[in-house]
């Protein structure tokens, strides 16, 4: 088994190396095509949010229907502190993350005592209240008119203005976020989260403080979303409340459902698929239905959500995992057991049919 593990580890490292090389070389591959670069930047930003949500929903099994609120906290904090108070962008981002974690803490304490659908409702209510705050607190957020003129972010004195620079920055964050999430999953904390999802009463009887872990992972997911929001604000330099309401929250949810929970990279997969599908729709729909506008997107993703939850509750990563397992068993390489020591995969959100 040791030798198989080393082979698998080596194989995995090779794949990782290829991906990292692809990431580094991508801008050169596409000869600085700004459209592709900005698409990838957006995928990266969304991937940060959805990775945090994957930890929360896939591993700990908690629903959040208001995650875009934290995304907004980061965005508006960075926007306000850098534009109106002249703070350095990194400090503003950090403050945003801390603020988001605090909000998550305050909201989480009562919310996690609720069961199932009440939890979902409470996060929805929280999302609406935050959206209203973004809309009404015009002094800070600029209200429905939006917030203009967010200054750019700078690294080591060099201000990041081009897409290429931002591309590298965002994806550095994505990689760091994935690494952090991966570490959590294969630790005592990750097991505790999965235990909570599996059976709260058993987890508790084994020493897992349910509320503490739910709160912590909620706060962590809030920080992921907040950092993503800050990055987004500095990239597009203009934000408005509609980016942080119920519908965006549901889109983040859709990313997690698409990506699935067989690994921490589910969030990234879901974000990528969502953005690519969106772009594909924008290209294809005007040809098929010239009168339809962006509305078709809502129908499409609504249907996709329903279909995936019924037929593929473990998402794409879950389907891939199952396919790989079947491939391995039919190839006769193992007697049906996985060669890895731990599988680190979470239950599907549905839990049942997987």
């Amino acid at each position: 088994m040791e030798r198989d593990e080393r082979i698998k580890g080596g194989r995995r490292r090779l794949v990782l190396l290829v991906l990292v090389a692809a990431w580094l070389g991508f801008p050169w591959l596409v000869a600085g095509n700004n459209y592709l670069l900005s698409t990838l930047i957006i995928i990266g930003v969304y991937a940060l949010v959805s990775t945090g949500m994957t930890l929360l929903m896939g591993y700990a099994g908690q629903i959040s229907l208001g995650q875009a609120a934290f995304y907004g906290v980061g965005a508006y904090t960075s926007a306000y502190l850098t534009a109106h108070a002249g703070w350095p962008p990194w400090l503003a981002m950090a403050v945003g993350a801390v603020l988001a974690a605090l909000v998550a803490f305050v909201v989480g304490i009562p919310v996690f005592r609720l069961r199932e659908h009440y939890l979902a409702l409470a996060t929805l209510g929280f999302g609406v209240i935050m959206f209203t705050l973004f809309k009404e607190w015009e002094a800070i957020t600029g209200g429905l008119n939006g917030f203009f003129g967010i200054p750019p972010i700078s690294v080591l004195g060099m201000s990041l203005q081009t897409d290429i620079q931002f591309y590298y920055l965002v994806w550095l964050f994505v990689l760091a976020g994935l690494w952090f999430a991966h570490n959590i999953v294969r630790s005592r904390v990750g097991r505790a989260l999965r235990a909570i999802h599996g059976s709260e009463v058993a987890a508790s009887s084994l020493g897992v403080n349910i509320t503490k872990y739910k709160l912590q992972i909620f706060m962590l997911s809030a920080m992921y979303a907040s950092v993503a929001g800050s990055l987004y604000a500095h990239y597009v330099t203009f934000i408005n409340p509609d980016l942080f309401g119920i519908v965006p929250s549901i889109y983040f949810l859709i990313m997690v459902v698409i990506g699935g929970t067989a690994g921490v990279w589910g969030g990234l997969v879901g974000a990528a698929v969502y953005v690519c599908l969106g772009e594909w729709l924008k290209a294809v729909v005007p040809i098929l239905m010239p009168d339809a506008g962006g509305e078709f997107e809502i129908v499409f993703f609504g249907l996709l959500l329903i279909i995936m939850l019924i037929y593929m509750p473990s998402g794409l990563t879950g389907a891939v995992q199952k396919g790989m397992k079947r491939f391995r068993t039919t190839a006769g390489s193992q007697t049906g057991t996985t060669a890895t020591t731990e599988r680190h995969e979470a239950r599907s959100i549905g839990g049942g049919n997987g």
């Binding site: 952090f180 999430a181 570490n183 959590i184 294969r186 630790s187 005592r188 904390v189 990750g190 097991r191 505790a192 999965r194 235990a195 599996g198 059976s199 009463v201 058993a202 987890a203 508790s204 009887s205 084994l206 020493g207 897992v208 403080n209 349910i210 912590q216 992972i217 962590l220 057991t337 996985t338 020591t341 731990e342 599988r343 995969e345 979470a346 239950r347 839990g351 997987g354």
Partner: protein
């Protein structure tokens, strides 16, 4: 001054108007295997749920290792050295056998979300230790070969063993077992009893609820008998077998049964 690991004093629990447990008192000595028996509905599982912190007592005291633990949460009790198994098996179905048992080692580890996320050296060391302990425990119950199997796919008897391994891996002082023999065939039951006795050698005390009289009589050092929420007898298996109230409680139930 008592050598009692667990003491239950005048413990009562009522739900609305129903008195599930009424003023029950008994003690469990360190190193003993104590059984709680009684006809159906006697309040045994409720008693367990109160002792293990799942529901607070309405009245009375629970003392564990000399400390009053009334109203403590189950996870706090686990940290103090009390774990349990469940009547309807609460395994983590989507995790492997090894992972299930590793969860059981949770109280002996310390990494929080930050040290885990940054993969600090002490986290790496802890993880190694957790795996080793889990494997050692699996070896003890004879399940090492199944370590990588998903527990949901395993036969019921094996699942029961996994659950007890999971409850024992953190070397608790006391393990509560809620109907551990339920659904097991005689061979599986014997296997489980052997595991118990081996664990007892290592210093774990057991308190269990059971209906299987053969097992109870052969394994238990002391027996506590409940009927309608009250303790009606306590003593060694021989004493209990001859106890008139116990006989009446069980026979009386038979007499009342419709033909």
């Amino acid at each position: 001054m008592s050598a009692m690991l667990l003491e239950v004093e005048q413990l009562s629990k009522s739900f609305g108007g129903v008195q599930a447990v009424q003023r029950v008192s008994f003690g469990v000595k360190k190193g003993d295997i104590v059984a709680v028996i009684g006809p159906n509905g006697a309040g045994k599982t409720t008693l367990f749920n109160v002792i293990s912190g799942i529901t607070p007592p309405t009245d009375g005291v629970v003392r564990f290792r000399g400390m009053t633990v009334n109203g403590k949460r189950p996870d706090e009790l686990a940290m103090l050295g009390m774990t349990r198994t469940f009547q309807n098996l609460q395994l983590f179905a989507d995790m492997t056998v090894l992972e299930n048992v590793m969860v059981g080692y949770h109280p002996r580890l310390k990494s929080g979300i930050i040290s885990a996320g940054f993969r600090l050296p002490h986290t790496v060391k802890e993880e190694k230790r957790a795996r080793e302990e889990a494997f050692a425990c699996l070896e003890q119950v004879g399940l090492v070969d199944l370590a990588m199997e998903q527990v949901g796919t395993l036969p019921y008897g094996i699942q029961r063993l996994v659950e007890i391994a999971r409850a024992a891996v953190s070397r608790p002082s006391l393990i509560l077992l809620d109907e551990p023999m339920a659904g097991l065939n005689p061979q599986e039951s014997k296997q489980l009893v052997d595991v118990w006795l081996a664990m007892r050698e290592q210093g774990i005390t057991f308190l269990f609820v059971e209906h299987d009289m053969e097992t109870v009589m052969s394994v238990a050092d002391r027996i506590v008998v409940l009927d309608y929420g009250q303790k009606i007898a306590e003593g060694t298996p021989e004493e209990i077998a001859r106890h008139p109230d116990v006989i009446k409680a069980y026979l009386g139930e038979e007499e009342a049964a419709p033909c």
